[in-house]
Amino acid sequence: MADFGMDDEDLEQMYQEVILDAARDPHGRVGDQADGGEDSDGDGVTIRVEHEACLAAESHQFNPTCGDQATIHVEVAPGEQGGPDLIQRIVWQGSGCSISQASLSIMVDLVQGQTVDHAMDLAADFRKLMESRGAGIEDEKAQDALGDAMVFQGVSKYPMRIKCALLGWEGMKASVAQALSAGRVGDKAVKEEQA
């Protein structure tokens, strides 16, 4: 029989220092009150936008088995004249288990200020890591790029927890895609800017 659980040693492996620390005070988390929580103008964005020139979007992620939830908010600076699109700001609201919280925190550290292409590459590598069933990934460049996120290798052994680790990354991908597609077809914010 496959053993999907863990003994004490596995437990330490899953909950490494980096994860426990990040989960206690995760980066990028914004409070409920200070930053809204109501979509007052119906544009799908609830967290206050800081960079007016950016394309803002949010993605709400929910894990129905355990109730982890996060709204990931991005502000993307569109690349001018063929330049790269940049993730100017990424913050989130939500709550969940330590795996989901730590993964959100480390994801924010990795993609904040980076190009969208780089963030998407990281997300793809992280997914490969999480699908590795504990084996990890061989690509050393990807390992270096993922940095702290490599600590989730231990989590990838546990099918019930992979979703927790992926929650933030999925939200980042979805919100960035939404920001860019809204911008490309001329979203409300962009049009108002230009008017």
Partner: protein, 424 residues
């Protein structure tokens, strides 16, 4: 009969190591483990008697049909329902969820005029009310909420006291002349609290409303007499009462089942079928049992019912109360809050708790590493978690095979959780 540790010998699954520890199973509210008597009955049936029921005339078909109907009568006996042929009050379904959906769909069909005049007592129209409670499992809440959306009826709910117990003494206010259906849980699968159904039944019947009781969490743990409780319908699953998965029950007072229109259509529920005229349907319970039935599972369920009656439900309740007292001590640990009554009166041994600062997913992982199985999440009951200001919780629940050593193991494990996750 006093239930002691020797009962565990009837549950071979309990005798295993998990992650280097003796397994402690505290998740019987999700599903109970099966005694050998049930496992053997299912195996024997497949070895010797397997055939469909109520179809065909060969020897095996006859044996299967007899065994199936015998099982129905044993299940009826367990809950004080009528089991005699021609008076059956137990409908076999795929489970509690299927039973509740069957009932809500049948009410919906009656609301569309199906089932003729006799079925009008189940019909809902705009402005009518359906009452549930904030402690409902989604399997009660959602079928009846959808029924309201389909018919224009209004969904109302009983509030809960700070312990999460249904405020039954507000029945006179919550249930009104417009109320047609009251669907409530007998025992919450989160708080473990037993609902005081007397005032609810009294008031419902005073205004002519039907009472639907979710007995999923009471039948396996308490003596139940549905006639004495005077409810109109009830639903539960075999797998929580030591029987197989894939089978459950809808109880209905005979007179009501006879008036209720069918909800699921197909083979074995119809007397005469035509291409150009409506069919005529069979009497209950067959009217509600379309398609090939879960025969082996039902036979296992009948054996489970007998097995429980042999133990004596009073004895089961008494044994589990002792275990519940052990589990409730978890509330004395630093940073641990019980969601539900903190004393053993009027509750069963299903104990949900919150560990301050540690998400249930992490608590579950931690105690699992010590070989202990509890449930974490919202347990398919989100509104009651909202009542406690939470999204999810941890839940330990008892079965006849649990021991005080099991509760000690849980307490020991939970007491280490906050330190491990650096919140204490």
């Amino acid at each position: 009969m006093v239930i002691d540790d020797s009962i565990r010998q009837q549950f071979p699954i309990l005798d295993q190591q998990v992650h280097g520890h003796p397994m402690v199973y505290l998740d019987s509210a999700a599903t109970a483990q099966k005694p050998l008597a049930v496992i053997d009955a299912v195996r024997d049936f497949y070895l010797k008697d397997n055939a469909g029921v109520h179809r065909g005339a060969h020897e095996l078909a006859a044996r299967s049909t007899m065994a199936f109907e015998h099982a129905r009568s044993r299940v009826a006996a367990l809950v004080g329902a009528e089991g005699q042929e021609g008076g059956e009050e137990i409908v076999v379904t795929a489970g509690a969820t299927a039973a509740l959906n069957l009932l809500a769909t049948a009410f919906g069909n009656a609301s569309l005029g199906r089932g003729g005049k006799a079925a009008q007592r189940f019909a809902l129209k705009p402005g009518d009310e359906v009452v549930v409670s904030k402690a409902e499992h989604h399997s009660v809440l959602l079928p009846f909420q959808e029924l309201c959306y389909r018919t224009g009826a209004v969904l109302k709910s009983f509030d809960l006291d700070p312990d999460g117990r249904v405020l039954a003494d507000t029945a006179d206010q919550v249930i009104t002349e417009r109320t047609k259906v009251v669907a409530v849980t007998h025992v919450s699968n989160v708080t473990g609290a037993i609902t005081d159904i007397k005032p609810i039944v009294r008031r419902a019947h005073q205004v002519g409303a039907l009472v639907v009781l979710d007995v999923c969490q009471s039948v396996p743990h308490l003596p139940i007499d549905l006639h004495a409780m005077d409810v109109d319908f009830a639903a539960w699953s075999a797998h929580k009462m030591y029987g197989p998965t894939g089978v459950g029950f809808l109880y209905g007072r005979r007179e009501l089942l006879e008036a209720l229109p069918p909800a699921s259509f197909g083979g074995s529920m119809v007397e005469l079928a035509y291409l150009d005229r409506p069919a005529s349907y069979m009497d209950p319970p067959a009217r509600f049992e379309a398609g090939t039935q879960p025969v082996a599972q039902m036979i296992g369920a009948g054996v489970a019912a007998d097995w429980l009656m042999d133990l004596g439900m009073e004895n089961v309740a008494e044994h589990e109360k002792a275990i519940a007292i052990g589990l409730l001590r978890v509330g004395e640990l630093d940073g641990v809050r019980i969601l539900g009554p903190t004393t053993p009166e009027d509750r069963i041994g299903t104990v949900a708790f919150d560990v301050q600062g540690v998400h249930p997913h992490d608590v579950g992982q931690y105690v699992d590493s010590r070989g202990i199985a509890i449930r974490v999440g919202h347990h398919c009951a989100q509104p009651v978690h909202r009542h406690f200001g939470l999204m999810a919780s941890n839940r330990a629940s008892t079965g006849v095979y649990n021991t005080v050593a099991d509760t000690d193991a849980l307490l020991d494990a939970v007491s280490g959780v906050r330190r491990f996750f650096r919140v204490a």
